[in-house]
Amino acid sequence: MKPAIEIRNLGKEYTLTTTQPYVALRDIISGSVKNMFKSAKEKKEKFWALEDINLDIMPGERVGIIGRNGAGKSTLLKIISRITPPTTGSAIIRGRVGSLLEVGTGFHPELTGRENIYLNGSILGLKKTEINKQLDAIIDFSGVEKFIDTPLKHYSSGMQLRLAFSVAAHLEPEILLIDEVLAVGDAAFQKKCLGKMEEVSKKDGRTILFVSHNMDTIRNFCPTTILLDEGKVISKGSTENTINEYVARHLETNAEMNWEKGVLSYTQGVSLHRAFLHNENGELISRFDTTEKIGVTIEYEVLKDDVVFTHGINLYNQENINIFNSHDVTSEIRLEKRVKGKYKAIAWIPGNLLPEGIFTISIALFLPNPLDILVHEHQVLSFETYTNFLKLSARGNYADDFPGVIRPLLQWEALKIS
C-alpha cells in the first residue's frame, strides 16, 4: 500500500519583514526617491519555517503533530492543504484532502443557518449532493434546529460554533487536517465531535493529521505522533514516547530555576536564588509518577536581620487552572525573626493527588498579615506526571480516559450488611 501522504525534502522559507507582509505602493514610490540619494539597501532577513521534512503517512493513520509555537506545525498543514506552496521539495497526497484550520470559515452573518451549512460545506470541499445527504444529520448534531432558518447574525457565538463544528464533524475526505480548531468551544461538544471523527476514521480508514497543544486530546485521538522543533522533524513514533520526548526537550530545564543575581526584595532584604523539583531521594527530576511525592525546594538569602516572612507556591495544570495554593503554616522558623544568611524551604506535594498531565509552579515569598508579596516568580518550574501501573493509584488498573482535576486515592469501605 502506498502512503497517503509522502513528503520529500520539503522546505518553506519566509522573508521576515519588520513591517507588514504586503507593501504600500506609496512606500515603493517614496522608497525609490529615497534610494536615489542613498544606495544602501535594507537587508531582508530570511528564515526556514520548515526544513528538509521527510514523512510517510499511511492510509488510515491518525497522527498527532506537537511542538512549541513557531515549530512549523501549522505551516506543514498549510502546505499539505495547498494554501501556501513549499520553497523546496515535494509532497504527494493520495486522496481528497479536507482541511479544518478554522471552524466556520466563510460563515456569513446575513445568511441563515441552513444556507451557511451549504456555503461552509462547499468551502470545506463537500459536494452539494453530499451536503444534501448529510443535511439532516448536521442540523441534528448541532442542536440548533429551531433556528436553522434564522440569519446567523441572530445566533449566539456558542450556537455559531456548534453549527460550525457539526459541518466539520461530517466532512468525509480521505485525508483530514485539523489544526487546533477544537481548542475552542465547550468541552462536551468538542468531545462529541472528536468521537464522531474517530468513529468515521475507524470505519472508513481515514487518515487524520491533528495539530494540538493539548496532550490529552492527542493521547486519546492519535496512536502516532510527530514532534516538530524549529522546522524539523525531531521524532515520529508512538504518542507516549513522542510526548515524553517533547516534555524532556522543552520542560526538563524547568525542573530547576537559578537566579544568578537573585530576585531581590528591596523593602525586606530577601533574595530568591534557586528553586527546583526533586523526589524523596533528592534527585532533581521533572517526571514523577502520580503516586510519588514531589518536593519543591526554594533557596533564598536573607540580607538583613529581624525579617519575618513566609514561603508559598501556586500549582497550575496545563489548562492553566490553579489547582491549589499553599504557604508555610507548619515550619518552626516561619514566625521567627530571621538573621542574615542562606535558607531553604521544602514543600512536599503528596503522591496520589494529581492526575497525569503537565503542571507548572509559581514561587512566592511574602508577609502573610497584612499580605505583602516580596517576591513572586510566575510558573517558573514545571513537571509532568505519568501513571505507573505497578503502583496502586486511584486508577487501579483502568487504563482509559480518566478525567478530573485532582485524583486522590480515597479510602473505600465496603461490607455486606445483610
Binding site: 504586503y22 492543504s81 501556501t84 504527494i92 466563510g106
Partner: protein
C-alpha cells in the same frame, strides 16, 4: 482513490488551471450565490435596486445631455442610446471594482482553505452580470416603449458586445485583484481610474462627436467603446468600423492575458501576503 492524487511542488511554469477550475465549479456557484443573496438581503429594495440604478442614471443623463445640451443621437432616441451605454458601462465598472476588492474581502477564507483562486474574482464578475441582466431587461422594455427598431443582426452584435465587456472586465479585475493583495493602497486608485475611463467611453456621447482622428484611435483601444459600438450598431443601422473593431479586440485580448498571467503568477503567495 488514485484519481485524487495531488503533487505539491514549489511554484513553477504557467497554466490556466482550467481542469481544476471545473472540479471546483460547485464552489464557484456557491460563492456567486452567496454574494447575490447577501447583496440583495442587505438592501431594502432588494432586487428592484438593480433596475432603479440604471433607470435613475438614464433619467439624469437624458435631462442633462438631451434636453439641456442637445446631444444629437439620431436615428436612436437619447434615452435608448444612453441606456445601452449605461448598462454595458455598469457591467464593466462594477465587475472591475468588485473583482479588484474581492481577494482582500475574502482574505480570511484564502488563508484557511485551498481552492483555485480565480473563483473569487470570477464570482464577483458573475454577481455584476446578474445585475446586468436586470439592466438588459429594462433596456428591452424601453425599446418597446420607445418603439425602437432593432435590426436582426442584434442576435450576434449584442452577445459579442457583452462578451467583450466580460472578457476585458475579467482581465482587468483579476489584474487589480492580484495587485491589491500586494500593494494594499492600490484600491484607492481604482475608483479614480474608473471615473477617467467613464469619460473616455462613449456612454453619454456618440463617437462621432470626437473631432481629432488620433484621439479616435486611442479611444478605440478602450474595450468599453468597442462593446458599446457593437451594441448600438443594430439600433442605429450604421456599420461597424473594422479598424476600430480590430484595435478594440486586440486590446481586450491583451488585457485578459496580462490580467490572467499576473494573477496566476502571484496567486500561490496570496495566503502568505493577505
Amino acid at each position: 482513490m488514485e484519481k485524487f492524487t495531488t503533487n505539491i511542488h514549489p511554484p513553477s511554469g504557467f497554466s490556466l488551471g482550467l481542469k481544476e477550475l471545473w472540479q471546483y465549479r460547485e464552489l464557484f456557484y456557491f460563492f456567486t450565490w452567496r454574494d447575490i443573496k447577501v447583496k440583495y438581503k442587505q438592501t431594502y429594495l432588494g432586487i428592484l435596486w438593480a433596475l432603479l440604478q440604471p433607470l435613475g442614471m438614464m433619467l439624469i443623463f437624458t435631462f442633462l445631455f438631451s434636453k439641456t445640451w442637445k446631444i444629437d443621437t439620431t436615428p436612436v432616441q437619447y434615452p435608448i442610446f444612453v441606456l445601452a451605454g449605461l448598462i454595458l458601462w455598469n457591467l464593466f465598472s462594477s465587475s472591475v471594482s468588485h473583482a479588484g476588492e474581492s481577494m482582500i474581502q475574502n482574505a480570511n477564507i484564502i488563508k484557511k482553505i485551498y481552492f483555485p483562486r480565480l473563483i473569487i474574482p470570477g464570482s464577483s464578475l458573475l454577481v455584476a452580470f446578474f445585475d446586468f441582466l436586470m439592466g438588459l431587461l429594462l433596456f428591452l422594455i424601453f425599446c418597446v416603449i420607445y418603439k425602437q427598431p432593432v435590426h436582426w443582426s442584434a442576435v450576434y452584435y449584442f452577445p459579442a458586445a457583452i462578451f467583450i465587456i466580460v472578457v476585458a472586465a475579467f482581465g482587468a479585475g483579476t489584474f487589480l485583484a492580484a495587485l491589491n493583495v500586494k500593494y494594499r493602497d492600490f484600491r484607492y486608485t481604482i475608483a479614480f481610474m474608473l471615473q477617467v475611463l467613464f469619460f473616455a467611453s462613449q456612454v453619454f456621447y456618440p463617437m462621432q462627436y470626437i473631432q481629432q482622428s488620433w484621439l479616435k484611435y486611442v479611444l478605440a483601444a478602450n474595450p468599453v467603446n468597442t462593446a458599446i459600438g457593437l451594441f448600438r450598431a443594430p439600433l442605429s443601422g450604421s456599420p461597424v468600423d473594422a479598424t476600430f473593431l480590430g484595435i478594440g479586440m486586440a486590446s481586450t485580448i491583451l488585457i485578459l492575458l496580462i490580467g490572467l498571467y499576473y494573477f496566476r503568477k502571484t496567486e500561490a503567495f496570496f495566503a502568505d501576503l493577505a
